[in-house]
């Protein structure tokens, strides 16, 4: 059947699909006429800047705006009291809960940089100056930064649920159970264990996150935004502001780089609220420093592998305990951990798999979506582990992957039957390109037929 697919690919005849036609937006880009959010200006537009927590975990005892209010150009301040539904979670739209994150901090801050109050001013400079003059009375609380420390009894509690982990239908982690991993270990010739660690990473799009909200004569608000998901932003904004959906008109579609960093719905709700409260257009664009330290990074991960391997290289059992550092709030991490759990055993067919994937809350900046959502760091760990297994068993890195490669029709640990699989063919092509000569028996393999490569 593999051969048929190849033939079908060769036969197809499309007019435009498959052609490298020029970019539709290319002319706008090379002439600098593409309009990005930051390029939207309205007369009388106000600027919004955030008062942020200087510490990672604290009780808020008081905030003094009196000096800030005296700054020429200061217009007003917004606090949590102004936000109709202040506590939210973005993925409530697809049933993820509970709500956990304040738009503006209420009585506590849980990460350094957490927004406490929004300052509106006539100019950006005035807004920044006023922010600098806000006096915060904070009482620092013990903070927790390590994912495994956070799960120990007695650790400082970050989340309001009282436990530092996301609860998956009553479970403390996302579980995958397939076969009998202990039986696999008992049968194995080698046990190969290793722990892999990664750190938070910034998307660093050249255009920072932001939006401009403009009240219209008919009572609606137009919001220009560089969100990656227009309705996600609109729906969440309407829910947070408790306004009917038809009040909001979101315009976007042109983004100066996203990589997952612009699906957080982080600037639109507060900016829209500011426009509604003042009746004036409001702009809120992250500074580069905010983009780097306050916007969600790719979460740090810790992944622990324990594999049972036979002398011939077959992996017969794989146990993985992994931890995503979600930072202080849900955002997209609970969902990322589920995608992670589905993929963390790798593109290999293993009869016994046991996965505990944890979404852990710490006093770090909340993590979120990033190109490769929950999978990038799994791939890192899996592929380092495969090399370690190869070295343990005494096989080369290619052979170990071919021996264990998943194929069409195989049942994966999450029990879906694998389709559209071309893992073997992809490795064969890369070996050829790199000038690595594969032995005959690996070249003869394919993703459709387990019994060797001969087919007609």
């Amino acid at each position: 059947m593999g051969a048929n697919v190849l033939e079908k690919a060769a036969e197809k005849k499309y007019r435009v699909v498959g052609q490298s036609v020029p970019r539709r937006d290319g002319m706008g880009h090379v002439t600098g006429t593409t309009k990005f959010v930051g390029d939207v200006h309205y007369p009388g537009m106000l600027h919004l800047k955030m008062v942020r927590s200087p510490v990672p975990h604290a009780k808020i005892n008081g905030i003094d705006f009196s000096e800030a209010e005296k700054v020429p150009g200061f217009v007003r301040v917004l606090t949590h009291r102004d936000v109709p539904k202040n506590i939210y979670t973005i993925l409530c739209l697809i049933g993820v809960g509970p709500d956990d994150e304040p738009v503006l901090a209420v009585d506590k801050v849980r990460y350094q940089g957490e927004p406490i109050a929004a300052i509106l001013a006539e100019t950006e400079e005035a807004a920044l100056e006023a922010v600098a003059k806000v006096k915060l009375d904070l009482e620092e609380l013990p903070a927790v930064f390590d994912v495994e420390e956070a799960l120990k009894p007695g650790a400082p509690i970050v989340a309001d649920t009282g436990v530092n982990y996301f609860i998956y239908e009553g479970h403390h982690c996302r579980r995958v159970r397939y076969g009998d991993v202990e039986a696999g270990f008992a049968q194995a010739d080698f046990i190969v264990e290793e722990t892999y660690n990664t750190k938070p990473i910034e998307h660093a799009p050249t255009e920072t996150t932001g939006c401009v909200a403009k009240p219209e004569a008919d009572g609606r608000v137009t919001v220009h935004t560089n969100t990656q998901a227009l309705y996600f932003s609109l729906d969440n904004t309407a829910l947070i502001l408790q306004v009917p959906f038809q009040k909001l008109h979101f315009v976007g579609g042109t983004v100066g780089g996203g990589f997952g960093g612009k699906v957080d719905v982080i600037t639109e709700p507060i900016t829209t609220l500011a426009a509604m409260k003042t009746g004036r257009p409001v702009k809120f664009i992250y500074s580069r420093a905010e983009e780097m330290q306050v916007s969600s990074p790719r979460s740090a991960w810790r992944l622990k592998y324990k594999d049972g391997v036979m002398k011939d290289g077959r992996i017969v059992a794989r146990q993985i305990t992994s931890y995503a550092d979600a930072g202080a709030y849900n955002r997209h991490t609970p969902y990322a951990v589920t995608k992670h759990a589905a993929n963390v055993a790798g593109p290999y067919t293993i009869p016994n798999v046991h996965i505990d994937a944890h979404c852990v809350f710490t006093n770090h900046t909340p993590g979120s979506a990033f190109r490769g959502f929950g999978v990038t760091m799994a791939s890192f760990a899996i592929e380092l582990q495969m090399d370690k297994i190869a070295a343990t068993v005494g096989l080369d890195p290619w052979t170990i992957r071919f021996i264990n490669a998943y194929r069409n029709g195989d049942v994966r640990p999450h029990r879906k039957v694998a389709e559209d699989v071309t893992f073997i063919e992809t490795m064969q092509a890369a070996a050829k390109l790199a000038g690595h000569e594969l032995p005959e028996h690996l070249l003869a393999m394919n993703s459709w037929d387990r019994n060797g490569g001969q087919h007609d």
């Binding site: 937006d25 290319g26 880009h29 998307h203 660093a204 050249t206």
Partner: protein, 162 residues
Amino acid sequence: MASKVVSFTLNGRETEVMVKPLTTLQVVLREQLGHTATKTGCRQGGCGSCTVLLNGEPVLSCLLPAEDVAGQQVTTLEGLTPIDGLHPVQRAFFDHYAVQCGYCSPGMILTTKALLDRNPTPSREEIVEAISGNICRCTGYTAIIEAVEAAAQALKGGQNGR
């Protein structure tokens, strides 16, 4: 300190603006003169998206006080684009898929223009050196380097768009 009038040549036209002290050229161009091709990727001097040409040399407009350009020639991407079509550097960026999100493009293109003006036949190393202050997170730079090489070829071929 009071605002003062600053006169300079912007894209070949005499221009006067009332400038508050310490306002950057970036802010004057974008917010007072509506020339938004000049971008604001960091406003810290670290990304090159705000590059403009000052007397033909690339400068970071986010670091440059607007008063400092008095009496001088400023070129933004708006000023590079001919009425009928594209400058050869723009054409090369378009043809070689050297733009993805397009946010770094104005700065990259002006940096390239300045490079080719002073060195019409740059080596690959010289291209890399010239664009190393301009960050592109999307393309991986390969297409941009190819576009610069193609632009150099095109300009050598006499289609000088200046």
